[in-house]
């Protein structure tokens, strides 16, 4: 019976960095900015989180360092695409390449260093409840943060005035400007929130998932997070569903490979991607709803005419 709990725990752990990075990118894209640099910001977060932990001995300091590094790195993207109105696609791609290279350089001396794990919480009695105790009361802190982020972002976007302003900018930045909303300021904040989330997602990898530093340790998760946002039609709870589905199929196919059903391993490795896309496409088949949720000014530079 504990096997089921263990499998569910690994699924959630695999899904958490995807969820955090995707929720951050969702806010960025809802404001009309397309930042393809998620992978780069994540890997910067991973290396900075690991380095700060190794230097101070505290994974909490490492986590905060990762958040700050991600936000700071995204600011570079913000200056280029928002203030200087550079092409968002090209800038985002460069950000990923820069992040991968820079993280390799920063992390060179930490390769092979033993890491410190950000421990799971333990509440006497509650954590020991059979079957569900560890799932509900015994996970790492970043897992709980990811759930709060999802709920918080959903609440922010659809229940607060600031969220309304952000969605309005994503829908039509020219109209928002005409109403007197400071488009660039909101977009800067959104971009930095996305960077902070990507940094935190990276910290989850190097402090929780596999507490060590390996070059390119994000292994394409930033790209998966980007795809999740689109296939989830920019809706937070669907992003959560998509991330967990992806995690479930990833872990499931590992077990299937271990058991050896005679299915080629390449096919099994591709399964998480295929399954997630198919499911999200099927639930997004209401085109009207999807178009209503798609930020209409996504990827377009905004230059105020004054």
């Amino acid at each position: 019976m504990d096997i089921a709990q263990n499998i569910l725990l690994t699924i959630m752990t695999a899904a958490t960095p995807l969820l955090i990075a995707a929720i951050g990118e969702l806010v960025v894209e809802r404001s009309g900015v397309l930042n393809l640099g998620v992978e780069g910001m994540m890997v910067i977060g991973a290396v900075c989180g690991f380095a700060a932990t190794a230097l101070t001995g505290s994974p909490w300091v490492g986590m905060l360092a990762a958040i700050a590094a991600g936000a700071f790195f995204s600011l570079l993207f913000g200056v280029l695409t928002l203030s200087l109105a550079a092409n968002q696609v090209a800038t985002g791609l460069s950000l990923t390449l820069l992040g991968l290279g820079l993280s390799g350089m920063i992390g060179e001396s930490f390769v092979g260093t033993a890491g410190v794990k950000l421990g799971s919480i333990h509440i006497p009695v509650l954590t020991e409840i059979p079957l569900v105790g560890r799932l509900v009361f015994g996970q790492d802190p970043i897992f709980y943060i990811s759930l709060m982020l999802t709920g918080g972002v959903a609440w922010f976007l659809f229940r607060t005035r600031a969220g309304l302003t952000l969605r309005a900018i994503g829908d039509n930045h020219a109209s928002a400007h005409a109403l007197g909303i400071n488009v660039l300021k909101v977009r800067y904040l959104a971009v930095m929130f996305g960077g902070a989330c990507a940094g935190l997602a990276g910290a989850h990898l190097s402090l929780v998932y596999t507490p060590q530093w390996v070059e390119n340790m994000t292994a394409g998760r930033g790209w998966i997070a980007l795809a999740l946002v689109v296939f989830a039609s920019w809706r937070p709870w669907r992003v959560l569903g998509g991330a967990y589905l992806f995690g479930a199929v990833s872990i499931g196919q590992l077990h299937a490979q271990a058991l050896g059903f005679g299915i080629p391993s390449q096919f099994l490795s591709a399964l998480p991607y295929v399954a997630t896309i198919v499911v999200l496409v099927i639930i997004s088949r209401d085109r009207r709803l999807t178009l209503m949720n798609t930020p209409a000014s996504l990827g377009q530079a905004f230059v105020p005419d004054r």
Partner: protein, 519 residues
């Protein structure tokens, strides 16, 4: 004391003086008209008043005190509200959310919905606060803008070309609302180029031309032609279809044409029937967003339909053919959007010419067999010929399309299509945003084409244009097309009813049951 007084207001964009030393005063409780052609500087002026643009020079006094309006927020705080020409609405959001965005402070969305409903009822502008803007008609969208403005309780309301998107009946309702506002002591700055409206509702008028004030008057004391002279600076040649002609063979036949909406923001075409003969100009009137662009797409072949028989061109089933195939059958098309649809702004005129006519004029423009080399000589000659024929004014021999003014580019685009003497020509909004001189030239060219034996379909929102150039008129409403009626027997009132969806069908439908009861 005047409510608003501006002196010497100037805005310079590069070398263009969009507004040049404008003086204007608005008294409390008056409806003040700002008249002028497209490009006269009206929009630039009000954008400065609303804090969207910063004046280069000049002063603005509000109730006798000099003010600096740095942003729309400051304008609203001062007491100025604005209803934009191109609505500043968010399609994906609800009516209440759209209204909330324009309000300062943190008001709960639910309370705004209530307040919006109350105000819209008070001014006779019914609105459902929870509807999504994408689902609303243009008239309803304008109501949102007006209610949004009224919620801020402004003393001066600026309306930028408010009736250009309304049916005559909707416009009448708007005028009632404006009278009500004036009755409450609010002032209105009413921007328009429609003289008849201005004479009907405005107390005073200021006329602009090329960024300068060319007249200030009481519009009711003027004649339409004296106002037009102030606006245009000279008499405008009038166009006329001329006497009725015996219509020739059928060139376009549309039968039971149906096309589903491709996006939530599009309109489905339903059971469209239309026959156009050689020598005719058919005008399709209607309020924007009722299926005009969808109909154009299906007629041009940009969006082919599965039933080939539903569109026949010169007797050949063409409904499933693409745009190039239809061009090869002798058709020409001019879409509504000049930049990016009818022309590539970054390419020069000759390049744009080849793009639309490489297939139909293959022998002249291309050579080298499969290499498809462009014959620069003939292309340049054709560009020159078109520019001369349509009086396209340009600074160089072959400038980029985007560097031409709207009117000159439109003249070139229409000329490019006319130059091949098409048998069928379909034009969507031929003179939208085009100055009066260029508009009259384009209209004359379309009429001349029909007289030479071609079939012309003009989709237009401009009723003056519709009456001026067509031989028969039909009206599109929610994707349905009314039966064409000869221009001589058509009236504006009737077009207004058809625009609002009151078809003969409904009238007949209600009349018939009485007859059957009698049996």
């Amino acid at each position: 004391m005047p409510l608003l007084e501006i002196r010497g207001l100037t805005k310079v964009f590069g070398s263009l003086r969009a507004c040049d030393g404008i003086d204007l005063t608005i008294a409390p409780g008056e409806i003040h008209a700002l008249l002028g052609e497209n490009g006269a500087g009206k929009s630039t002026l009000v954008k400065m008043l609303f804090g969207v643009l910063e004046p280069t020079a000049g002063t603005i006094d509000w109730k006798g005190q000099p003010v600096r309006i740095g942003s729309p927020r400051e304008a609203r705080a001062t007491g100025i509200g604005m209803v934009f020409q191109h609505f500043s609405l968010f399609e994906a959001l609800t009516v209440a959310e759209n209204i909330a965005l324009a309000l300062d402070g943190n008001v709960a969305i639910d309370r705004i919905a209530e307040e919006a409903r109350r105000l819209s009822d008070q001014y006779g502008l019914p609105l459902d606060p929870h509807a999504h803007v994408a689902d609303l008609s243009v008239g309803e969208r304008q109501r949102i803008e007006i209610v949004r403005t009224l919620l801020q309780n402004p003393e001066l309301i600026i309306l930028d070309e408010p009736t250009s998107v309304l049916t005559p009946q909707e416009a009448d309702k708007l005028f009632e609302t404006l009278e009500k506002l004036r009755g409450e002591g609010r002032s209105v700055l009413y921007i328009s180029h429609r003289l008849e409206e201005v004479q009907r509702i405005c107390d005073r008028a200021t006329v602009l031309r090329h960024g300068k004030v060319t007249g200030a008057c009481n519009p009711r004391a003027e004649t339409p032609s004296s106002l037009a002279r102030m606006m245009v600076g000279s008499e405008v040649a009038s166009v006329s279809y001329g006497g009725a002609q015996a219509p020739g063979e059928v060139l376009v036949e549309v039968r039971k044409l149906n096309a589903p909406a491709r996006t939530p923001f599009a309109v489905a075409l339903r059971d469209i029937d239309l026959t156009v003969r050689a020598g005719e100009v058919i005008a399709i009137a209607g309020v924007a967003g009722n299926g005009q662009s969808e109909l154009f797409d299906v007629l041009s072949g940009e969006v082919p339909v599965s039933d080939a028989e539903s569109v026949r061109i010169a007797g050949v089933a063409a409904g499933s053919k693409g745009i190039t195939a239809r061009r090869l059958m002798g058709c020409s098309f001019v879409p509504e959007e000049r930049h990016g649809h009818a022309a590539v702004p970054d390419m020069n005129l000759s390049g744009n010419l080849v793009l639309s006519r490489y297939a139909s004029d293959r022998k002249t423009f291309l050579s080298g067999g499969w290499l498809d080399l462009i014959n620069m000589g003939p292309v340049a000659a054709a560009t020159k010929r078109i520019s001369a024929a349509m009086d396209v004014r340009k600074s160089q021999e072959d400038p980029p399309a985007g560097s031409l003014s709207g009117g000159n580019l439109q003249k070139f685009i229409v000329g490019r299509e006319l130059d091949r003497q098409p048998r069928v020509m379909v034009v969507n909004q031929p003179t939208w945003g085009v100055d009066a001189g260029a508009a009259s030239r384009i209209r004359q060219a379309l009429v001349d084409l029909a007289k030479s034996g071609s079939a012309v379909i003009v989709i237009s929102q401009d009723l003056d244009e519709v009456f001026e150039i067509s031989s028969r008129i039909c009206v599109i409403n929610e994707g349905r097309l009314s039966a064409p009626e000869p221009v001589a027997s058509m009236t504006r009132e009737r077009i207004g009813l058809l625009m609002g969806g009151f078809h003969d069908g409904t009238a007949r439908g209600s009349a018939m049951p009485e007859a059957s009861h009698a049996h």
